[in-house]
């Protein structure tokens, strides 16, 4: 009897943690796993969603998107857009963070700059897209200023020309995203002990040496973490590109997200769209695993 009671007690103790976890497990299952599994299953069906009795398609939809040159162009554009965005987010974020952390700048000016620099973060993607469409339209302010300064001789169709469109949307995204780096790096800079710099001063280190040998190594964990997260988020950017160019002109700004959207809601080919979405999922998953491993190693 006593043994039975003990084993019952042990079972209760073993089950208890799972019971505590069950609400969050249920939510994760319903909101994350279920949609993911559903989309993966759609990618193996013919006429997914559109037919009540879809048939099994095997890898047909994956083969179709891998055979589509627009898919590979989209993948290349996504990589360009993402890499350039992350590199410039980091560079600009670092410069502004150093500026805001510097004692050489007047505190009042520093506070004003702090507000100004963070402004792009406050706008939604739609507002950012509208602002840049207005600024970069052929008769817009940017062309007018550049022409007055004699930098360009004629109006440039920034978003409408296949030569400039991808650079223009990348620029708009860089402008929108650097504050995340700036704020994170500023917090990191404020955490670096002053003693390091004082010791470097005694050793006669110059400003750039202090930056290379103290500041950057101290900020490295933040830089890597934020860069990885930014890479994952930027890869999935949709509204900014959709509203500014719609993936055009021709296919010059087509990225994986707009490619998938068009398959789903323009071609109504939801099975191929699901296959494309799974490819994005796999790339994001790879990056996420890399991020988790890095976090664990720390």
């Amino acid at each position: 009897m006593a043994r039975q009671k003990r084993s019952h007690h042990r079972l209760k103790r073993a089950v208890a943690p799972y019971l505590y976890l069950s609400p969050s497990l249920l939510i994760i299952g319903l909101l994350m796993l279920l949609p993911m599994v559903t989309v993966i299953s759609y990618s193996f069906q013919n006429s997914a969603v559109l037919r009540r009795d879809p048939s099994f398609a095997g890898l047909k939809h994956y083969q179709a998107i891998f055979a589509d040159p627009v898919f590979w162009a989209s993948l290349w554009h996504t990589l360009y857009f993402t890499c350039m965005s992350v590199v410039f987010h980091m560079t600009i974020g670092m410069i502004f963070a150093l500026m805001l952390n510097s004692d050489r700048i007047n505190p009042t000016l520093r506070n004003i700059l702090r507000v100004l620099y963070i402004l792009p973060w406050l706008f939604t993607a739609v507002i950012i897209a509208v602002i840049w469409r207005l600024l970069l339209e052929p008769n817009g302010v940017v062309n007018s200023i550049l022409m007055q300064l004699g930098i360009i001789g004629s109006k440039i169709e920034w978003f409408s020309s296949p030569e400039t469109a991808l650079h223009a949307v990348t620029f708009a995204n860089i402008w929108a995203g650097y504050p995340l780096f700036m704020v994170s790096l500023l917090a990191g800079l404020q955490g670096i002990p002053k003693d390091f710099y004082e010791a470097a001063d005694i050793d006669g280190a110059k400003a750039y040496q202090k930056l290379i040998f103290i500041t950057i190594p101290q900020l490295m964990p933040i830089i890597i973490s934020i860069s990885l997260l930014d890479f994952i988020w930027t890869m999935q950017v949709f509204p900014l590109i959709w509203i500014t160019t719609g993936g055009g002109p021709i296919y010059s700004t087509e990225v994986l997200s707009t490619y998938t959207y068009k398959l789903a809601f323009s071609s109504y080919n939801l099975s191929q769209a699901a296959a494309s979405a799974v490819v994005i999922l796999l790339i994001s998953l790879g990056l996420t695993l890399f991020y988790i491993r890095y976090q664990k190693a720390r």
Binding site: L50, K155, E157, S160, G248, P249, I250, S266
Partner: protein, 415 residues
């Protein structure tokens, strides 16, 4: 006393319940999904439904309303899952897909059974011989001309042919003042510019982009249209930013005196007047090819209506469709929407009270509704494919013939 009242009260309650219950059982509730209600004056569509309910005791109508894009997605999913509303608002571009899903009822037997006068409707959209949609209200696309810009440019006679249009556009263009003769929105975000601003040139001259039910983009009409659009662009008469320009931006440029002419929906007349009350403009039909004297095809977008194939109340649904297509009700609805009627006998009140609408109504009466994208499979995808090839042509990457051939190849794959 109490003992005697109680049974009487119980009897009354039972009778009331019985009446209510039988009443409820007799009532049929139709679900009507559309995007029209938010675009009409508040409460006006509900009022029409109330009148229908009063005229048809036992039938109630529940309106399921949302923006256009949401309604489109809702209808696609509803068709797939078998939960489509009894009556659905339709865009001609959707009907082919919905028909492929067997989601729309054939209204031919209903018309025959009720001896419906087919001659009274402006158009019946058929797919595989099945009558699946009536256009209830049509929004036609004439050419809007800024009369002040035309006068300043010395354009005394408004263009009637393509050659005259090109000349007028050249005269109205002053790139140094950011002023252009024409505007062409070819954003891939909403590729409807292909339908409204490009193919409209083909249909206006009584021509077609199809032959024997298949795309004929390499035929003379489409190649000539592409050549004409290219000549307008090469002459520098088209407002820059074509590849990312949307319909809203097109209207804004016209409102702000930055373009002399645009092809646009009549539905925007009030918006244009509101945005710039001083704008002096007129409406003309889309110009035609030289020496064409036939009837002009008038591009249009429509509020269509159809019945779900899975509806358990098709008889009642047909009554609602007939009601909305009837002369008086149709006139009332299109008057509210500033649209042209689906019933040929209906005359909206704004055509007598407003000069611009009156003129457009004359254009409408003398021409015919033309939109060959209606009923085509994945119409929006076809437009996107054509759009990409047109953009390549305008970027100088290919000739009109090559653009037409590339688009034809892409379209054939969808057929």
């Amino acid at each position: 006393m109490t003992f005697r009242i109680r049974p009487a009260m119980l009897k009354m309650a039972a009778a009331a319940w019985l009446l209510g219950a039988t009443g409820a059982m007799a009532d049929t509730t139709l679900e009507f999904t559309q995007w029209w209600e938010p675009e009409l004056p508040a409460g006006s569509l509900r009022k029409i439904m109330d009148d229908f309910e009063a005229a048809n005791p036992g039938i109630k109508v529940t309106l399921v309303s949302g923006p256009y894009a949401t309604t489109r997605d809702q209808i696609s999913v509803g068709a797939a899952t078998g939960t489509l509303s009894d009556v659905v608002g339709l865009d001609g571009a959707w009907v082919n897909n919905l028909n492929a899903q067997n989601a729309l009822a054939d209204m031919n037997p209903m018309m025959d059974a009720s001896k419906f006068d087919k001659a009274q409707v402006a158009d019946i959209i058929k797919v595989d011989g099945k009558a699946v949609m009536f256009p209830v209200a049509s929004f036609v696309y004439p050419v809007f001309v800024n009369l002040d810009l035309a006068a300043q440019a010395g354009v005394t006679k408004l263009p009637s042919t393509r050659a005259e249009f090109l000349e007028a556009a050249k005269k109205m263009t002053h790139a140094d003042k950011n002023q252009y003769g024409w505007v062409l929105p070819l954003s891939l975000q909403t590729p409807s510019g292909v339908q409204n601003d490009m193919m409209s040139w083909v249909w206006a001259s009584g021509q077609s982009m199809m032959a024997n039910g298949k795309p004929d983009l390499e035929g003379k009409p489409v190649v000539d249209m592409l050549t004409f659009v290219k000549s307008l662009n090469d002459a520098g008469t088209v407002s820059p930013g074509i590849a990312t320009k949307t319909e809203q931006e097109k209207v804004e440029e016209f409102v702000n005196d930055r373009v002399g002419m645009m092809i646009d929906s009549l539905a925007h007349v009030n918006l244009i007047r509101k945005r710039n009350p001083k704008l002096n403009f007129d409406l003309i039909p889309v110009p035609v090819v030289e020496n064409y004297n036939g009837k002009r095809g008038l591009p249009y977008a429509s509020w269509g209506i159809g019945i779900s194939a899975g509806s358990k109340h098709q008889e009642e649904a047909w009554k609602l469709v007939q009601y909305l297509m009837s002369e008086k009700v149709n006139a009332k609805l299109v008057s509210l929407a500033n649209a042209f009627p689906g019933n040929v006998n209906a005359k909206p009140d704004f055509v007598t009270s407003d000069k611009a609408f009156g003129k457009a109504f004359e254009i409408f009466k003398t021409g015919y509704l033309a939109n060959e994208f209606t009923g085509l499979p994945v119409a929006e995808d076809l437009m996107t494919q054509f759009d990409v090839q047109a953009q390549k042509m305008l970027a100088g990457e290919q000739s009109p013939e090559q653009a037409a051939a590339a688009a034809q190849k892409g379209w054939m794959a969808k057929f």
